[in-house]
Structure formats: C-alpha cells, structure tokens
Symmetry: C2
Subunit: 459 residues, 2 copies
C-alpha cells in the first residue's frame, strides 16, 4: 500500500493525551479563577473578515495574518482548463483571515451587540489564534489565548483586578518567582513630551525603549542616537528613564522632574490608584514593579500596560495586557473604554514543563475490566456498566486475548486497578480486583468491589 | 468618527455568555461521559496539509474545504507594484486547509505516532471543523464536533460501546424520543452483490437508497431506474430492502433470502454481536433499530454504521459514526482498524433550544459587591476578596456611581445577591446583604455574611 506521508504544518502541534491532561489542568485553573471574579464566557468565529482585522496590529502584525482563500473564484477549475489564472485585485482571492488575537474580535462583538450587553461587560475567552510567525522555541503558528477584559468602564479598579487575577492564577499554578511589570502609556507619552520627542520620533523612541531588556541602557542610548533624536532629548529622556526605586520613590521622582506634564500626572495617578486597589484586593505588593521601559508592541493601548515575567527560564512574558480605550470606537463609532489581559498558556505550559511543575497524569481511567473468554463477555460488560454507574471511569478491554496482554495494556496505560471475571467469579457472582501497583488481588462480591474501588480510586 | 461596520463571515456565529453557558453544559456532559468510558483527550491543529485531507471526503466534500493562502507568494506586494499576478499552479497559492472533520486528523495522528500509542487507543476530541457549505438553518461553516474513536481493534465491543455512549449522553441531556439507526456496510454491499449490482452501479444504488427518508420507497425505485440499473436487480434489491420487522426478524429474513452471500453473513453476525453487547452494557434495546436504508455519505466506512435521530423536530442526525478499517492505512501503509462516532453538538443544541430543554443560566456570579463612595472602596474590595477566597463567584462594581445604577446592573445580570458597605457598616465591621429576589436586606458581621452567602449561593 502506498501511503500518504503523514505530517502537520510548520509551527502547529498535535496534543496527545498526556500533554492534553496538562493543558486541561492549566486551562481549568484559569477558567475557574476567571469565573470566580465574575467574568462570563464568549466565543467568536475563527475566521474574521479581513476589513475587521486590518489596521489593528501594525504593519508587522498584518503580515502575519493567515488568509483564507475565497470560495467560488474558479481558480482550481480554471487551472484545470487553462494554464494560468490572472489575479488583478487582492480581494478577488481573499476577503477573510484567521483571527490574530481575541481583543479585536471582542471589540467587534461589543460594537455589534452594544444594545444586548449590560455594561460593564466582563468576559473571558479561551480560543486558539493564528499567526504566520517564523516558528521557534516557544513560538507557534496556532496557539491558545486565554483573555479577560472589562468593557465599559474607565475605572482603574478593572485594571487592578486584571493584575490581581494574573497574580492569583500564576500562584495557583505553582509559580513563585515572577513579577508583573507595570507601566502606563499616558506616562510614557508624557515623558516623551517632556523630553521634546514628538510625532514619528516618539514611535521610534518607544521602539528603542522597548529593547532595554535585550540591549541595556547603553544599547538604548545608541538606538536613540541612530534614530536621529537630538542629543538634548536623549539626555532628558534617559535622565528620567534611568531612575530606579520603589513605586513610591518612582512616583515622587517623576512628579518632581516632569510632573508639570499633564500626561505624566494622569499616568502617575492611575498607577497609584492601581497600587491602592491591588493592596485592598490582598495582592502581595512585591508581585509587581513599576517598569518605565515596558512598552508592549500593540498600537492600541492607551493607559496602564502590564506583563508578567519569570526570572528563569528567559522566555518572554507569560501574560500581557493593558487598557485600550479607543479600539472599540473603531467599530462602534463611539469610544467605549476597555481593559484586560491575555494569558499566554503555551509559554506557561512550556515553562511549567521545564521547571517540572506538573504532576504527570497518564490516564484518568481508574479501572480496566478484562475479558476472560467469549463466555464471560456479558458479565464483564455488565460489571463495567455497574462501575460507570457509580461514577468510576472504567475501560473494558475489547478482546478476549491472553490475560497477560490485557494486564500489560493496563500497566502501560497507568490504570491503577483491573478486574478479572472468570468462570469461578461468575459462578459465585464475585469479581477479582487486582491493584496494578502492589500486585495484590482480592476476590469480592460485586457490590463490595464497587465500594472498594469507589473508595480507592477517587481523588 | 468613521467606523468599520462590524460583521462576521457568512455561516459563522458569535456565542454571547448565555449561549456559551448552554454550550458548556452540553459539552461538559459529553466530555464527562467520554472520560467515564475511558476515552482520553486529543487535539490536532486546525490547519492540515491539503494532501492529508484530499481524497478522503468524496468530490462534494473536497469542494467544501476552506483553503489557507500560502505565505510568501508575493501576491499582495506584486499587486501593489504591477496590475496582475499570474497563477499557473494551484499549489503556488494553496498547500493547507482548515480541517473538515476529526476522523481524518485522528487517522493521521495514529499513523504518525504509532510507536508512542498503546493500542487499543481510545481518544475523544472536541474541536471546531470548517466546511464551506451553503449556510442554512442548522448548518454552519464553523461548528464543533465531539468525537470518540477506538483504534486498533476489530472487536464489535468497540462499536457497541459507541452506541451505548450515544444512548447515555442523549438521555443525560434530556432526550427521550430518539432512535439510533444501525446498519452495516458489509451487509449493504452483500445485499447489492446478491442483487447483482456491482462497480459504479453500486455507488449509484447506495445514493438512491440513502434518499429513502426523503423520497420514500417509490422514489427510491424511480431513482434506481433513472440510474439504469436493470429491472431484475431493482426487484431483487427492493424485495430485500422493503422487509420490516424487529432486529431478530430482520436478521432471520436476511439469512434466509441472501445469507449465502459472505458479506451478508458477516454483516448480520456483526450486528448480532452489537445487539448482545449493548444489552450486556444495559442499553435499552428499543434505543436502536436496524435500518437497511442507512448508508452514511462518507466513503471510508467498512462495517457497522449508525446515526441517531429525534422524531421531532425533523433536523437530520444528532450523532453519526461507524467503523472505518481502511482509512488509517492510507497514512500508515498498514491497515489499523478503527470505529467511532461524532456528536453534532450544534444540532443537539439547536434541538434542545427548540424543545426548551435548557435551564437558562444568565450568569454564574453569585454576589455583586457595590461601591458606596470613594472612601469605602478599600472595604468593598477587601470583602470581595474574602468572598472569592471562600469560593464564591463575586463581582465588584467598578465605579462609585449611584446605588440605583449598581442595583440595576445586579438585577439585569441576574446576580442573586448584592452587598452594601457604607460608613455605618464600615464602622461596625459589618456588611448588608441584599437578596435581589426577595428584596430582603440583612446586616451581618463579615464572617456571618460569608457563611450565609456560602450556604445560599451554592448548588
């Protein structure tokens, strides 16, 4: 038989059961916490119209959209009949693309269903997104995002809640050494204004600042020089940026040096509010630090921005978000404020695997019922049904093959108990329960066996 | 502000929270049952290589594949510079497509990871699939499938288990008037052989038989005549097909009339085994009926086939599946037997809505903590955190607006309790608990309030 060589597209992955149990564990923890904070579920289509996605992710992001070929172009048929197909307009072939994130679809949803939604609208969304990025360690072309957003309020309470949720979830997953970097776009803009950097140059300067992590302060200085920003501006900018201290100290330094700038003032006061609210919410105050170098690439942020990073391994951010008070207006015509955060669960899982934070689950099946021979099948099936009725996850081996093979399957799968029902057991209306761990085997009445397994296989 | 008119692609849907709660309810029931029978989770990429999908779904299916535009074609850039882009080979533009079902991806997975998987491999998979079908009532372009399959055994036990699971899940969801139509491709092939219908004509005959539901026996006869099948063959075929009776009677009739045919013999014996096994598993025997007219479109079935239908409303099948012992071999080179079933959860949900089978859930939030004024925010936040710590899903209203507005939000969202914390409550370290249902308001110590809400908001 000549077979099709099975393979999958670059940057995509199959998740076999053991991997899936880990994903379900992480997603379950995230979802439960979202619901505990009152967020409600939303799902949107994987395919969005290109005009909805266009102009939201910057030039770089735009290139990464996975586009879907329009149906009914006749492309395939024409190529069968003729040698070529001439395309003269892009939208002759493409009108739709796979979603790139969950924030733009949310904004579209809010604009479309404004009258049905009660504001503030708190939603969570856990779905895959697609980016035609160059695949590399920790970066995939299809990956899940887990987002929460609060729409319809300018209150910093919503931003503080995002931070508290990030903190709570990372701790619940077992992370101890992480920090949430916190900054504010208004503050950044104010500092640039104070440094007399404006227009295109401010975008340039932001790109340079964003690289601090990778190239250090000297690197940033060189970048700024390379981007033809005046020496005076660079000096003013860096004299502010290079300050280090606690949140309190940073706020007070900024007020003193550039607090005359309205954007700086607003930025500080927003961050200060967030500090107070997170404290009231019981979030450990060493979980976050003010980081003036945090920019976050996406163009749509307008206020507080935040991302969480682990000390080890160096893998980028685990979560990231911020306030975007202007994005929904691009769809609705009227501005509707919004803020929220995304959990990069692929990275979270990668890090948890690397740091061996998972408890390995090989199977959720608790009991395997063997089949002794053709005559005993009915009894085995009936007992399996009895166990399932009691809520015990039970498999039946599907063939009356040698017992050794059935036991070896049970072992390989990591199923803790197996049941043997042969002629003796059938005659006495009993079953033999074998613990795969200890090898111990006990013969019990059927109802005692159910009770025993219920007690020993739960939790 | 000039806004982008927000809309979504034809045949796709947004699921707002109330709809999502229904979907979660159905998917949760399905997933729990799958796990109780020992199926393990699998996820595969949304995008598959075109060569993996091609040739699996028949000509009609092939046309419905959503194709993904290849990256790096230069199409977009070239069109900016020149007026046209000439395509001379189809795979110049397209190499990948969105998955069409979950069975072909499973087959690819089994072939790719043969050495890692312990056979029999029982997996469940709950993911969306895409078909560029003409959208209509109950038919979407993006929809979830929920599949179970058992790979690596020819045993009819696996097929019987599929039937038992369909029966159990439909009952758990609240369906009472449904029936699982059961047939066998070997039996059908045997009946066609017996009727001296072969080659292309047997495909033609199957298509005609499949229409029984819609056009009745006379219609089928006309179809067969129209497809130039000989009068003698039609008469032989219909003399078998038109038999009606219980499973037992049908088996005995078939054995008598065409039991000399080996395929008929095997088909009957497989169905008979399934009947016995489902009975042992405790499945009500009136849940299924042998239906010789069941064909199921897909080309890859080789043995038992089954689908479940409800009497009302007429909406097609809710679940469908069967045995496909040759499909995996198309990838692996060696045949690996497999069988399984898919739950059409979109139709299931549509029917459940139509029959009003859902308990409406508006929100999962149990308590809303109001904000009295700027001075009380810290107390409100701290108490919200206390409630969440106790496991109670709690929202905090994010703004210190008029109490009337906060109560109206609580009401509209269907949140059962709200908490008021004003200066009096703060002074006494108390909170007021208001039941939105009865309007009753009680002032309690904070710890009593937590206990009260824990008792009254759970379950």
């Amino acid at each position: 038989m000549s077979a099709i060589k099975p393979s999958i597209p670059k940057g995509t992955r199959d998740f076999l059961p053991e991997k899936m149990y880990k994903r379900q564990q992480v997603i379950g923890t995230i979802k439960d916490t979202f619901e505990k904070y009152g967020y409600a579920p939303l799902e949107t289509p994987s395919i969005e119209k290109l005009k909805v996605l266009s102009g939201k992710y910057g030039d770089e992001g735009e290139k990464l959209l996975f586009k879907v070929l329009k149906r009914g172009t006749g492309l395939e048929n024409l190529l069968k009949e003729e040698n070529e197909f001439v395309v003269s307009e892009y939208d002759q072939l493409v009108e739709e693309a796979l979603r790139y994130d969950l924030t733009v679809p949310l904004s579209r949803v809010v604009a479309m269903y404004q009258n049905e939604l009660t504001m503030p609208f708190k939603r969570y969304q856990i779905q895959p997104v697609w980016r035609a990025d160059r695949p590399q360690k920790g970066r995939y072309r299809e990956f899940y995002q887990c987002d929460i957003d609060t729409v319809g309020t300018e209150s910093m309470l919503a931003d503080a809640e995002s931070l508290a949720i990030v903190d709570e979830i990372l701790r619940k997953l077992g992370f101890t050494k992480f920090v949430i970097r916190l900054n504010n776009r208004k503050l950044l803009n104010g500092i640039l204004e104070y440094s007399e950097i404006s227009g295109d140059q401010s975008v340039s300067a932001m790109i340079a600042i964003d690289k601090m992590d990778k190239i250090g302060l000297d690197g940033v200085r060189k970048e700024l020089e390379g981007r033809s920003i005046s020496a005076q501006s660079i000096s003013k900018l860096l004299s502010v940026m290079e300050f280090t201290g606690t949140s309190e100290e940073t706020f007070s330094f900024l007020s003193k040096t550039c607090g005359a700038n309205v954007s700086v003032q607003t930025g500080i006061s927003e961050l200060d509010e967030i500090a107070n609210y997170t404290e009231s919410l019981g979030m450990p105050q060493d979980s976050y630090k003010i980081d003036l170098y945090l920019v976050r690439g996406l163009g749509y942020y307008t206020g507080p921005i935040y991302e969480s990073v682990v000390e080890e391994p160096k893998i980028g951010s685990l979560t990231g978000g911020g306030r975007y008070d202007k994005l929904i207006g691009m769809f609705s015509g009227n501005d509707i404020p919004a803020t929220g955060t995304a959990f990069g669960i692929e990275r979270i899982i990668d890090v948890m695997e690397q740091l061996e934070m998972f408890e390995d689950i090989k199977t959720k099946t608790k009991v395997l019922v063997t089949i002794f021979d053709g005559d005993s099948i009915a009894d085995s099936l009936a007992f399996a049904a009895e166990l399932r009725k009691a809520g015990i996850a039970t498999e039946c081996f599907p063939e009356a093959v040698k017992m050794k093979k059935q036991l070896s399957y049970t072992n390989k799968k990591g199923i803790p108990f197996c049941i043997l029902i042969g002629p003796d057991e059938i005659a006495k209306h009993e079953v033999s329960v074998k613990s795969m761990d200890s090898g111990e085997q006990t013969t019990l009445s059927r109802s005692d066996a159910v009770s025993f397994l219920l007690k020993n296989s739960m939790g």
